[in-house]
Protein backbone atom coordinates (compact mmCIF):
# COMPACT_ATOMS: atom_id res chain seq x y z
CA UNK A 1 0.00 0.00 0.00
CA UNK A 2 1.78 3.20 -1.17
CA UNK A 3 1.93 5.95 1.36
CA UNK A 4 0.41 9.40 0.93
CA UNK A 5 2.96 12.19 0.55
CA UNK A 6 2.11 15.45 2.28
CA UNK A 7 3.68 18.66 0.95
CA UNK A 8 3.55 22.24 2.19
CA UNK A 9 4.97 24.86 -0.14
CA UNK A 10 5.76 28.33 1.17
CA UNK A 11 5.89 31.08 -1.42
CA UNK A 12 6.23 34.84 -1.15
CA UNK A 13 3.55 36.48 -3.27
CA UNK A 14 2.35 35.70 -6.75
CA UNK A 15 5.66 36.01 -8.53
CA UNK A 16 7.23 34.27 -11.49
CA UNK A 17 9.44 32.37 -9.07
CA UNK A 18 6.44 31.24 -7.01
CA UNK A 19 4.59 30.12 -10.12
CA UNK A 20 7.62 28.19 -11.31
CA UNK A 21 8.00 26.41 -7.97
CA UNK A 22 4.31 25.48 -7.93
CA UNK A 23 4.44 24.19 -11.51
CA UNK A 24 7.59 22.17 -10.87
CA UNK A 25 6.16 20.65 -7.71
CA UNK A 26 2.90 19.70 -9.45
CA UNK A 27 4.89 18.06 -12.19
CA UNK A 28 6.93 16.05 -9.69
CA UNK A 29 3.70 15.05 -7.99
CA UNK A 30 2.00 13.93 -11.19
CA UNK A 31 5.06 12.11 -12.52
CA UNK A 32 6.09 10.34 -9.33
CA UNK A 33 3.22 10.31 -6.88
CA UNK A 34 0.14 10.45 -9.04
CA UNK A 35 -3.04 10.29 -7.00
CA UNK A 36 -1.29 9.95 -3.65
CA UNK A 37 0.04 13.34 -2.68
CA UNK A 38 -1.44 16.33 -0.89
CA UNK A 39 -0.23 19.85 -1.47
CA UNK A 40 -1.02 22.99 0.47
CA UNK A 41 0.43 26.29 -0.65
CA UNK A 42 1.01 29.06 1.88
CA UNK A 43 1.81 32.61 0.87
CA UNK A 44 3.99 34.11 3.63
CA UNK A 45 2.50 37.54 3.01
CA UNK A 46 -0.99 36.24 3.66
CA UNK A 47 -0.01 33.97 6.55
CA UNK A 48 3.19 35.18 8.23
CA UNK A 49 2.26 33.43 11.48
CA UNK A 50 2.59 30.02 9.82
CA UNK A 51 5.87 31.13 8.31
CA UNK A 52 7.02 32.05 11.81
CA UNK A 53 5.87 28.73 13.23
CA UNK A 54 7.68 26.77 10.52
CA UNK A 55 10.68 29.13 10.72
CA UNK A 56 10.68 29.93 7.02
CA UNK A 57 13.76 31.91 5.99
CA UNK A 58 13.89 31.50 2.24
CA UNK A 59 11.13 31.29 -0.34
CA UNK A 60 10.06 29.16 -2.05
CA UNK A 61 10.49 26.48 0.64
CA UNK A 62 9.00 23.05 0.27
CA UNK A 63 8.37 20.94 3.34
CA UNK A 64 7.59 17.25 3.08
CA UNK A 65 5.61 16.55 6.23
CA UNK A 66 4.91 12.86 5.72
CA UNK A 67 5.75 10.09 5.45
CA UNK A 68 8.66 9.85 7.84
CA UNK A 69 10.53 12.77 9.31
CA UNK A 70 9.83 16.23 7.95
CA UNK A 71 12.32 17.40 5.33
CA UNK A 72 12.69 20.66 3.50
CA UNK A 73 14.25 22.07 0.39
CA UNK A 74 14.40 25.62 -0.88
CA UNK A 75 14.43 27.10 -4.40
CA UNK A 76 12.13 26.94 -7.41
CA UNK A 77 12.63 23.15 -7.57
CA UNK A 78 14.17 23.01 -11.03
CA UNK A 79 15.95 19.66 -10.63
CA UNK A 80 13.48 16.87 -9.80
CA UNK A 81 16.06 14.31 -8.71
CA UNK A 82 17.75 16.69 -6.35
CA UNK A 83 14.42 17.64 -4.87
CA UNK A 84 13.57 13.99 -4.23
CA UNK A 85 16.99 13.35 -2.74
CA UNK A 86 16.74 16.33 -0.45
CA UNK A 87 13.32 15.19 0.77
CA UNK A 88 14.41 11.54 1.16
CA UNK A 89 11.78 10.53 -1.38
CA UNK A 90 14.06 9.06 -4.02
CA UNK A 91 12.87 5.53 -3.29
CA UNK A 92 9.20 6.45 -2.91
CA UNK A 93 8.41 7.37 -6.49
CA UNK A 94 6.45 5.46 -9.09
CA UNK A 95 9.04 5.64 -11.82
Amino acid sequence: MPRVISFVLYIAGDTVRSQRAIANLRRIGEERFAGRYKLSIIDVHADPASAERDRILTTPTLIKQAPGAARRVTGDLTDFNQVLLALSLASEGDA
Binding site: E52, T59, D79
Partner: protein, 514 residues
Protein backbone atom coordinates in the same frame (compact mmCIF):
# COMPACT_ATOMS: atom_id res chain seq x y z
CA UNK B 1 7.19 55.63 5.92
CA UNK B 2 5.04 58.44 4.63
CA UNK B 3 5.63 62.00 5.71
CA UNK B 4 2.41 61.94 7.69
CA UNK B 5 3.43 58.80 9.59
CA UNK B 6 6.83 60.29 10.31
CA UNK B 7 5.25 63.49 11.52
CA UNK B 8 2.90 61.55 13.77
CA UNK B 9 5.81 59.58 15.21
CA UNK B 10 7.65 62.81 15.94
CA UNK B 11 4.63 64.24 17.64
CA UNK B 12 4.26 61.14 19.82
CA UNK B 13 7.90 61.37 20.84
CA UNK B 14 7.65 65.08 21.53
CA UNK B 15 4.64 64.40 23.73
CA UNK B 16 6.72 61.97 25.78
CA UNK B 17 9.45 64.56 26.13
CA UNK B 18 11.87 62.50 24.14
CA UNK B 19 14.21 64.68 22.26
CA UNK B 20 14.83 64.15 18.63
CA UNK B 21 17.75 65.85 17.03
CA UNK B 22 17.65 67.19 13.53
CA UNK B 23 20.69 67.75 11.38
CA UNK B 24 19.89 68.94 7.92
CA UNK B 25 17.48 66.39 6.54
CA UNK B 26 18.51 63.68 9.00
CA UNK B 27 16.56 63.08 12.20
CA UNK B 28 18.21 61.10 14.93
CA UNK B 29 16.65 58.90 17.55
CA UNK B 30 18.29 58.62 20.94
CA UNK B 31 19.42 55.04 21.47
CA UNK B 32 19.28 55.46 25.24
CA UNK B 33 22.66 53.77 25.60
CA UNK B 34 24.47 55.99 28.15
CA UNK B 35 27.12 58.13 26.51
CA UNK B 36 26.50 56.85 23.00
CA UNK B 37 24.00 59.48 21.99
CA UNK B 38 26.42 62.18 23.03
CA UNK B 39 29.14 60.72 20.82
CA UNK B 40 26.65 60.15 18.03
CA UNK B 41 25.45 63.74 18.03
CA UNK B 42 22.00 62.84 19.34
CA UNK B 43 21.62 59.19 18.42
CA UNK B 44 21.26 56.98 15.38
CA UNK B 45 19.90 58.42 12.15
CA UNK B 46 16.19 57.67 12.18
CA UNK B 47 14.71 55.20 9.69
CA UNK B 48 18.18 54.31 8.49
CA UNK B 49 20.25 51.16 8.63
CA UNK B 50 23.32 51.09 10.85
CA UNK B 51 25.93 48.37 10.76
CA UNK B 52 27.59 47.55 14.08
CA UNK B 53 30.70 45.55 13.33
CA UNK B 54 33.25 44.06 15.70
CA UNK B 55 35.37 41.03 16.45
CA UNK B 56 34.09 38.09 18.49
CA UNK B 57 33.44 39.23 22.05
CA UNK B 58 33.24 42.92 21.19
CA UNK B 59 29.74 43.21 22.74
CA UNK B 60 27.72 43.43 19.52
CA UNK B 61 24.79 41.43 20.84
CA UNK B 62 24.77 43.46 24.05
CA UNK B 63 24.79 46.66 22.00
CA UNK B 64 21.73 45.72 19.96
CA UNK B 65 19.93 44.28 22.99
CA UNK B 66 20.61 47.48 24.90
CA UNK B 67 19.32 49.47 21.92
CA UNK B 68 16.01 47.61 22.07
CA UNK B 69 15.87 47.64 25.87
CA UNK B 70 16.42 51.39 26.11
CA UNK B 71 13.75 51.87 23.48
CA UNK B 72 11.26 50.04 25.66
CA UNK B 73 12.36 51.38 29.04
CA UNK B 74 13.00 54.98 28.20
CA UNK B 75 10.90 55.78 25.16
CA UNK B 76 8.16 53.13 25.26
CA UNK B 77 9.14 52.02 21.77
CA UNK B 78 8.82 48.36 20.87
CA UNK B 79 11.60 46.42 19.20
CA UNK B 80 12.11 43.34 17.05
CA UNK B 81 15.19 41.16 17.46
CA UNK B 82 16.04 39.00 14.46
CA UNK B 83 18.56 36.44 15.63
CA UNK B 84 20.70 34.44 13.24
CA UNK B 85 23.10 32.92 15.74
CA UNK B 86 22.01 32.71 19.38
CA UNK B 87 18.66 31.15 20.15
CA UNK B 88 16.06 33.40 21.81
CA UNK B 89 16.39 31.17 24.89
CA UNK B 90 20.10 32.02 25.16
CA UNK B 91 19.54 35.73 24.54
CA UNK B 92 16.79 35.93 27.17
CA UNK B 93 19.05 34.21 29.67
CA UNK B 94 22.20 36.18 28.83
CA UNK B 95 20.48 39.55 28.98
CA UNK B 96 18.88 38.67 32.31
CA UNK B 97 22.33 39.43 33.76
CA UNK B 98 21.68 43.12 33.01
CA UNK B 99 18.27 42.97 34.64
CA UNK B 100 16.49 43.01 31.27
CA UNK B 101 13.31 40.97 31.51
CA UNK B 102 12.85 40.18 27.84
CA UNK B 103 10.26 37.50 28.52
CA UNK B 104 7.99 40.02 30.19
CA UNK B 105 8.40 42.47 27.31
CA UNK B 106 7.53 39.69 24.89
CA UNK B 107 4.32 39.07 26.82
CA UNK B 108 3.60 42.81 26.78
CA UNK B 109 4.11 42.89 23.02
CA UNK B 110 7.08 45.24 23.39
CA UNK B 111 9.73 42.84 22.20
CA UNK B 112 9.48 40.16 19.53
CA UNK B 113 12.02 37.64 18.39
CA UNK B 114 12.26 36.45 14.83
CA UNK B 115 14.17 33.24 15.34
CA UNK B 116 16.43 32.36 12.43
CA UNK B 117 19.05 30.64 14.58
CA UNK B 118 20.52 27.46 13.11
CA UNK B 119 18.26 24.44 12.83
CA UNK B 120 19.25 21.27 14.56
CA UNK B 121 18.94 19.28 11.33
CA UNK B 122 21.38 21.46 9.42
CA UNK B 123 20.92 23.92 6.59
CA UNK B 124 18.15 23.48 4.05
CA UNK B 125 19.34 22.13 0.68
CA UNK B 126 18.97 24.53 -2.23
CA UNK B 127 17.48 23.45 -5.55
CA UNK B 128 16.96 26.37 -7.91
CA UNK B 129 16.44 30.07 -7.38
CA UNK B 130 15.24 31.52 -4.07
CA UNK B 131 15.09 34.72 -2.04
CA UNK B 132 14.66 35.77 1.59
CA UNK B 133 10.95 36.47 1.17
CA UNK B 134 10.10 34.28 4.15
CA UNK B 135 12.38 36.22 6.44
CA UNK B 136 11.17 39.60 5.22
CA UNK B 137 7.57 38.61 5.71
CA UNK B 138 8.22 37.35 9.25
CA UNK B 139 10.09 40.51 10.22
CA UNK B 140 7.37 42.72 8.75
CA UNK B 141 4.77 40.72 10.61
CA UNK B 142 6.64 41.12 13.92
CA UNK B 143 7.09 44.86 13.32
CA UNK B 144 3.40 45.31 12.55
CA UNK B 145 2.30 43.19 15.48
CA UNK B 146 4.40 45.11 18.05
CA UNK B 147 4.39 48.47 16.23
CA UNK B 148 8.16 48.29 16.56
CA UNK B 149 10.31 51.32 15.83
CA UNK B 150 13.59 49.52 16.36
CA UNK B 151 14.73 46.40 14.55
CA UNK B 152 18.01 44.59 15.04
CA UNK B 153 19.51 41.75 13.01
CA UNK B 154 22.28 39.83 14.81
CA UNK B 155 24.55 38.75 13.17
CA UNK B 156 24.58 38.71 9.40
CA UNK B 157 27.62 36.44 9.16
CA UNK B 158 25.41 33.39 9.64
CA UNK B 159 23.48 34.30 6.49
CA UNK B 160 26.61 34.66 4.43
CA UNK B 161 27.97 31.38 5.74
CA UNK B 162 24.75 29.54 4.97
CA UNK B 163 24.25 30.99 1.48
CA UNK B 164 27.36 31.24 -0.66
CA UNK B 165 25.84 33.66 -3.17
CA UNK B 166 26.95 36.90 -1.52
CA UNK B 167 25.49 39.16 -4.18
CA UNK B 168 22.06 37.60 -3.64
CA UNK B 169 22.23 37.98 0.16
CA UNK B 170 23.39 41.57 -0.16
CA UNK B 171 20.56 42.48 -2.48
CA UNK B 172 18.06 40.67 -0.25
CA UNK B 173 19.37 42.53 2.80
CA UNK B 174 19.00 45.73 0.87
CA UNK B 175 15.40 44.80 0.11
CA UNK B 176 14.73 43.97 3.78
CA UNK B 177 16.25 47.16 5.18
CA UNK B 178 14.48 49.28 2.58
CA UNK B 179 11.16 47.74 3.51
CA UNK B 180 11.81 48.24 7.23
CA UNK B 181 12.90 51.84 6.78
CA UNK B 182 9.67 52.49 4.91
CA UNK B 183 7.74 51.05 7.83
CA UNK B 184 9.40 53.69 10.03
CA UNK B 185 11.88 51.40 11.75
CA UNK B 186 15.45 52.25 12.60
CA UNK B 187 17.54 49.21 11.75
CA UNK B 188 20.74 48.07 13.45
CA UNK B 189 22.44 44.96 12.19
CA UNK B 190 25.66 43.40 13.34
CA UNK B 191 28.49 41.65 11.56
CA UNK B 192 31.53 39.95 12.90
CA UNK B 193 34.98 41.12 11.86
CA UNK B 194 38.09 38.99 11.94
CA UNK B 195 40.40 41.81 13.03
CA UNK B 196 39.98 44.96 15.10
CA UNK B 197 41.89 46.93 12.51
CA UNK B 198 41.25 45.79 8.95
CA UNK B 199 38.42 45.32 6.51
CA UNK B 200 35.07 46.34 8.02
CA UNK B 201 33.42 43.07 7.03
CA UNK B 202 34.22 40.33 4.58
CA UNK B 203 30.88 40.66 2.85
CA UNK B 204 30.69 44.19 1.55
CA UNK B 205 27.46 44.94 3.43
CA UNK B 206 28.91 48.20 4.70
CA UNK B 207 28.96 49.55 1.16
CA UNK B 208 25.70 48.15 -0.12
CA UNK B 209 23.32 47.95 2.78
CA UNK B 210 24.41 50.23 5.62
CA UNK B 211 23.84 53.96 5.73
CA UNK B 212 25.99 54.16 8.85
CA UNK B 213 28.86 52.16 10.30
CA UNK B 214 29.76 51.79 13.97
CA UNK B 215 32.79 49.74 15.03
CA UNK B 216 33.18 48.01 18.38
CA UNK B 217 36.68 47.02 19.41
CA UNK B 218 38.07 44.88 22.17
CA UNK B 219 41.80 45.41 22.04
CA UNK B 220 44.61 44.07 24.12
CA UNK B 221 46.91 46.88 25.24
CA UNK B 222 49.72 46.16 27.66
CA UNK B 223 48.03 42.90 28.65
CA UNK B 224 44.82 44.73 29.43
CA UNK B 225 41.53 44.65 27.56
CA UNK B 226 40.28 47.94 26.30
CA UNK B 227 36.90 48.37 24.68
CA UNK B 228 36.27 51.22 22.28
CA UNK B 229 33.48 52.34 20.01
CA UNK B 230 34.00 54.31 16.83
CA UNK B 231 31.43 55.89 14.56
CA UNK B 232 33.02 55.42 11.21
CA UNK B 233 30.36 57.10 9.16
CA UNK B 234 26.90 58.58 9.49
CA UNK B 235 25.72 59.28 6.00
CA UNK B 236 24.73 62.95 5.94
CA UNK B 237 24.99 63.56 9.70
CA UNK B 238 27.67 64.64 12.10
CA UNK B 239 29.25 62.72 14.99
CA UNK B 240 32.40 62.54 17.10
CA UNK B 241 35.43 61.06 15.39
CA UNK B 242 37.86 58.48 16.63
CA UNK B 243 37.69 55.73 19.21
CA UNK B 244 35.83 56.34 22.44
CA UNK B 245 36.16 53.96 25.39
CA UNK B 246 33.15 52.04 26.60
CA UNK B 247 32.50 49.38 29.18
CA UNK B 248 29.99 46.68 29.92
CA UNK B 249 28.64 46.94 33.44
CA UNK B 250 25.69 45.66 35.42
CA UNK B 251 23.16 47.74 33.51
CA UNK B 252 24.58 47.22 30.04
CA UNK B 253 26.84 49.38 27.93
CA UNK B 254 28.26 52.71 28.99
CA UNK B 255 30.14 54.82 26.49
CA UNK B 256 32.61 57.25 28.04
CA UNK B 257 33.10 60.26 25.80
CA UNK B 258 36.36 61.62 27.10
CA UNK B 259 37.72 63.95 24.47
CA UNK B 260 34.49 65.87 24.28
CA UNK B 261 34.19 66.58 27.97
CA UNK B 262 36.16 69.53 29.10
CA UNK B 263 34.42 72.12 26.99
CA UNK B 264 31.83 73.98 28.94
CA UNK B 265 33.35 74.58 32.33
CA UNK B 266 32.74 77.83 34.05
CA UNK B 267 35.33 78.97 36.47
CA UNK B 268 34.84 80.62 39.79
CA UNK B 269 36.86 82.97 41.93
CA UNK B 270 35.37 81.63 45.16
CA UNK B 271 38.07 80.26 47.43
CA UNK B 272 37.77 77.49 49.97
CA UNK B 273 40.13 76.34 52.68
CA UNK B 274 42.70 73.66 52.03
CA UNK B 275 42.21 72.58 55.63
CA UNK B 276 45.64 73.94 56.57
CA UNK B 277 45.61 77.66 57.51
CA UNK B 278 49.27 78.21 56.62
CA UNK B 279 48.74 76.64 53.23
CA UNK B 280 45.73 78.87 52.64
CA UNK B 281 47.98 81.85 53.30
CA UNK B 282 50.56 80.50 50.85
CA UNK B 283 47.74 80.22 48.29
CA UNK B 284 46.72 83.82 48.81
CA UNK B 285 43.54 82.92 50.65
CA UNK B 286 42.72 79.30 49.87
CA UNK B 287 42.20 77.17 46.80
CA UNK B 288 39.55 77.86 44.18
CA UNK B 289 36.31 76.01 44.76
CA UNK B 290 36.34 74.33 41.33
CA UNK B 291 40.05 73.64 41.14
CA UNK B 292 42.01 70.43 41.14
CA UNK B 293 45.11 70.21 43.31
CA UNK B 294 47.78 67.61 42.75
CA UNK B 295 49.89 66.78 45.80
CA UNK B 296 53.12 65.06 44.88
CA UNK B 297 55.55 63.51 47.28
CA UNK B 298 57.55 60.44 48.23
CA UNK B 299 56.19 57.86 50.61
CA UNK B 300 55.83 59.21 54.14
CA UNK B 301 55.89 62.88 53.23
CA UNK B 302 52.30 63.40 54.38
CA UNK B 303 50.15 63.16 51.26
CA UNK B 304 47.45 61.18 53.00
CA UNK B 305 47.59 63.71 55.82
CA UNK B 306 47.08 66.54 53.35
CA UNK B 307 44.08 64.85 51.83
CA UNK B 308 42.69 64.16 55.32
CA UNK B 309 43.11 67.81 56.27
CA UNK B 310 41.57 68.88 52.99
CA UNK B 311 38.51 66.75 53.77
CA UNK B 312 38.46 67.82 57.39
CA UNK B 313 38.53 71.46 56.28
CA UNK B 314 35.29 70.77 54.43
CA UNK B 315 33.77 68.81 57.29
CA UNK B 316 34.44 71.71 59.67
CA UNK B 317 32.58 74.04 57.29
CA UNK B 318 29.65 71.57 57.27
CA UNK B 319 30.34 70.61 53.70
CA UNK B 320 29.93 67.11 52.35
CA UNK B 321 33.18 65.36 51.42
CA UNK B 322 34.05 62.22 49.50
CA UNK B 323 37.28 60.24 49.64
CA UNK B 324 38.33 57.61 47.16
CA UNK B 325 40.98 55.57 48.96
CA UNK B 326 43.00 53.23 46.80
CA UNK B 327 45.80 52.50 49.23
CA UNK B 328 44.58 52.33 52.79
CA UNK B 329 41.61 50.66 54.39
CA UNK B 330 38.89 52.70 56.03
CA UNK B 331 40.05 51.59 59.49
CA UNK B 332 43.63 52.59 58.83
CA UNK B 333 42.52 55.97 57.55
CA UNK B 334 40.25 56.67 60.47
CA UNK B 335 42.94 55.64 62.95
CA UNK B 336 45.50 57.90 61.30
CA UNK B 337 43.04 60.76 61.14
CA UNK B 338 42.35 60.33 64.85
CA UNK B 339 46.10 60.49 65.52
CA UNK B 340 46.12 63.85 63.74
CA UNK B 341 43.20 65.09 65.79
CA UNK B 342 40.39 64.56 63.26
CA UNK B 343 37.22 62.64 64.08
CA UNK B 344 36.28 60.99 60.79
CA UNK B 345 33.99 58.53 62.50
CA UNK B 346 31.77 61.34 63.65
CA UNK B 347 32.00 63.11 60.29
CA UNK B 348 30.84 59.91 58.64
CA UNK B 349 27.92 59.51 61.05
CA UNK B 350 26.88 63.09 60.39
CA UNK B 351 26.89 62.40 56.68
CA UNK B 352 29.67 64.88 56.02
CA UNK B 353 32.19 62.29 54.93
CA UNK B 354 31.88 59.32 52.64
CA UNK B 355 34.87 57.03 52.22
CA UNK B 356 35.02 54.66 49.30
CA UNK B 357 37.71 52.00 49.47
CA UNK B 358 38.57 50.25 46.28
CA UNK B 359 41.29 47.89 45.29
CA UNK B 360 42.75 49.41 42.12
CA UNK B 361 43.26 46.09 40.39
CA UNK B 362 39.65 45.14 40.82
CA UNK B 363 38.41 46.49 37.48
CA UNK B 364 39.30 48.33 34.30
CA UNK B 365 39.63 52.10 34.09
CA UNK B 366 36.21 52.63 32.55
CA UNK B 367 34.52 50.75 35.39
CA UNK B 368 36.40 52.69 38.04
CA UNK B 369 35.39 55.89 36.33
CA UNK B 370 31.74 55.01 35.98
CA UNK B 371 31.50 53.91 39.62
CA UNK B 372 33.27 57.02 40.85
CA UNK B 373 31.02 59.26 38.77
CA UNK B 374 27.94 57.47 40.06
CA UNK B 375 29.07 57.90 43.63
CA UNK B 376 29.88 61.57 43.06
CA UNK B 377 26.37 61.98 41.72
CA UNK B 378 24.80 60.19 44.68
CA UNK B 379 26.85 61.84 47.42
CA UNK B 380 26.87 65.29 45.76
CA UNK B 381 30.01 66.38 47.60
CA UNK B 382 31.68 69.77 47.56
CA UNK B 383 35.10 68.15 47.96
CA UNK B 384 36.60 65.01 46.55
CA UNK B 385 39.99 63.55 47.43
CA UNK B 386 41.69 60.70 45.59
CA UNK B 387 44.46 58.97 47.51
CA UNK B 388 46.38 58.04 45.50
CA UNK B 389 46.23 58.52 41.77
CA UNK B 390 49.51 56.65 41.46
CA UNK B 391 47.83 53.48 42.68
CA UNK B 392 45.60 53.69 39.61
CA UNK B 393 48.42 54.72 37.34
CA UNK B 394 50.10 51.41 38.10
CA UNK B 395 47.13 49.34 36.90
CA UNK B 396 45.95 51.39 33.91
CA UNK B 397 47.65 51.87 30.59
CA UNK B 398 49.12 55.33 30.17
CA UNK B 399 46.44 56.29 27.66
CA UNK B 400 43.67 55.02 29.89
CA UNK B 401 45.17 56.79 32.86
CA UNK B 402 45.24 60.11 31.09
CA UNK B 403 41.68 59.65 29.87
CA UNK B 404 40.65 58.75 33.39
CA UNK B 405 42.14 61.91 34.86
CA UNK B 406 40.65 64.10 32.13
CA UNK B 407 37.25 62.63 32.67
CA UNK B 408 37.37 62.76 36.45
CA UNK B 409 38.63 66.35 36.57
CA UNK B 410 35.98 67.50 34.14
CA UNK B 411 33.28 65.72 36.16
CA UNK B 412 34.45 67.57 39.26
CA UNK B 413 34.82 70.92 37.56
CA UNK B 414 31.44 70.76 35.91
CA UNK B 415 29.88 70.49 39.35
CA UNK B 416 32.30 72.99 40.89
CA UNK B 417 33.70 70.41 43.25
CA UNK B 418 37.14 71.00 44.77
CA UNK B 419 39.46 68.09 44.08
CA UNK B 420 42.69 66.95 45.66
CA UNK B 421 44.63 64.09 44.12
CA UNK B 422 47.79 62.63 45.58
CA UNK B 423 50.67 61.21 43.62
CA UNK B 424 53.59 59.19 44.94
CA UNK B 425 57.02 59.96 43.55
CA UNK B 426 59.17 56.87 43.10
CA UNK B 427 62.37 58.28 44.59
CA UNK B 428 62.75 59.59 48.10
CA UNK B 429 64.73 62.63 47.17
CA UNK B 430 63.85 64.98 44.37
CA UNK B 431 62.08 63.26 41.53
CA UNK B 432 58.85 63.43 39.64
CA UNK B 433 56.48 60.69 38.64
CA UNK B 434 54.71 59.50 35.55
CA UNK B 435 51.52 60.80 37.10
CA UNK B 436 52.91 64.30 37.27
CA UNK B 437 54.40 64.18 33.83
CA UNK B 438 51.14 63.19 32.24
CA UNK B 439 48.56 65.01 34.24
CA UNK B 440 50.26 68.14 35.50
CA UNK B 441 48.66 70.12 32.70
CA UNK B 442 45.25 68.85 33.72
CA UNK B 443 45.43 70.06 37.29
CA UNK B 444 45.15 73.65 38.38
CA UNK B 445 47.59 73.57 41.25
CA UNK B 446 50.58 71.42 42.06
CA UNK B 447 51.97 71.11 45.56
CA UNK B 448 55.31 69.41 46.02
CA UNK B 449 56.20 67.65 49.27
CA UNK B 450 59.89 66.77 49.31
CA UNK B 451 62.42 65.29 51.70
CA UNK B 452 65.46 67.42 52.36
CA UNK B 453 68.61 65.79 53.65
CA UNK B 454 70.45 68.36 55.64
CA UNK B 455 73.18 67.98 58.24
CA UNK B 456 72.44 64.34 58.82
CA UNK B 457 68.73 64.92 59.20
CA UNK B 458 65.68 64.34 57.07
CA UNK B 459 63.55 67.43 56.93
CA UNK B 460 60.50 68.08 54.79
CA UNK B 461 59.71 70.89 52.41
CA UNK B 462 56.50 72.11 50.83
CA UNK B 463 56.24 74.23 47.73
CA UNK B 464 53.41 75.47 45.54
CA UNK B 465 54.79 74.78 42.10
CA UNK B 466 51.85 76.28 40.30
CA UNK B 467 48.49 77.72 41.04
CA UNK B 468 46.43 78.65 38.04
CA UNK B 469 44.91 82.10 38.17
CA UNK B 470 46.33 83.25 41.48
CA UNK B 471 49.50 84.69 42.95
CA UNK B 472 51.03 82.33 45.49
CA UNK B 473 54.00 81.79 47.75
CA UNK B 474 56.85 80.42 45.67
CA UNK B 475 59.22 79.61 48.52
CA UNK B 476 60.21 76.15 49.67
CA UNK B 477 59.04 76.03 53.25
CA UNK B 478 59.81 73.56 55.95
CA UNK B 479 56.92 71.72 57.54
CA UNK B 480 56.48 69.36 60.45
CA UNK B 481 53.78 66.88 61.37
CA UNK B 482 52.40 66.36 64.87
CA UNK B 483 49.22 65.38 66.66
CA UNK B 484 47.37 68.32 65.13
CA UNK B 485 48.45 67.71 61.57
CA UNK B 486 50.75 69.64 59.30
CA UNK B 487 52.51 72.83 60.35
CA UNK B 488 54.18 74.93 57.72
CA UNK B 489 57.05 77.06 58.90
CA UNK B 490 59.85 79.19 57.53
CA UNK B 491 61.44 78.93 54.08
CA UNK B 492 64.61 76.89 53.71
CA UNK B 493 67.35 79.48 53.44
CA UNK B 494 70.44 77.41 54.05
CA UNK B 495 70.08 74.73 51.35
CA UNK B 496 69.40 74.54 47.63
CA UNK B 497 68.81 71.78 45.12
CA UNK B 498 65.84 70.31 47.00
CA UNK B 499 63.77 69.66 43.92
CA UNK B 500 66.58 67.93 42.08
CA UNK B 501 67.36 65.84 45.13
CA UNK B 502 70.97 67.02 45.10
CA UNK B 503 70.84 69.16 48.19
CA UNK B 504 73.87 71.19 49.09
CA UNK B 505 74.39 73.57 51.90
CA UNK B 506 74.84 77.22 51.16
CA UNK B 507 76.95 77.81 54.27
CA UNK B 508 80.50 77.06 53.20
CA UNK B 509 81.99 76.57 56.68
CA UNK B 510 79.77 73.60 57.34
CA UNK B 511 81.38 71.64 54.54
CA UNK B 512 84.72 71.55 56.37
CA UNK B 513 83.22 69.49 59.14
CA UNK B 514 84.29 65.94 58.69
Amino acid sequence: MSMAAKKAARARRAARGQHLTRQGSIDKIATGIPGFDFVAGGGLPECRATLVAGTAGSAKTIFVSHFLTAGIQRFNEAGVFVTFEDSPVDIRRNMCAFGWDIERWERDNKWAFVDVSPETNGPTPIVGAFDLGGLLSRIEHAVRRTKARRVTLDSLNALFVQFPDRALIRSELFRITTALKQMGATVVFTAERTEDYGAITQFGIEEFVADNVVLLRNILVDERRRRTIEILKFRGASHERGEVPFTVMEHGLIVIPISAQQLTQESTTVRVTSGIPELDRMCNGGIFRDSIVLVSGATGTGKTLMSAQFLNGGVQKRERCLLFAFEESRDQLFRNAAAWGMDFEKAEQQGRLVVQNQYPHAMPMEDHLVRMRNLIETVAPTRVAVDSLSALERVFTLKSFREFVISLTSTLKKQQIAGLFTSTTPSLLGGGSITEKHISTLTDSIILLRYVESKGQMRRSINILKMRGSPHDTQLREYTIDGHGMHIGEPFRDVSGILSGLVHSLVVEDERDE
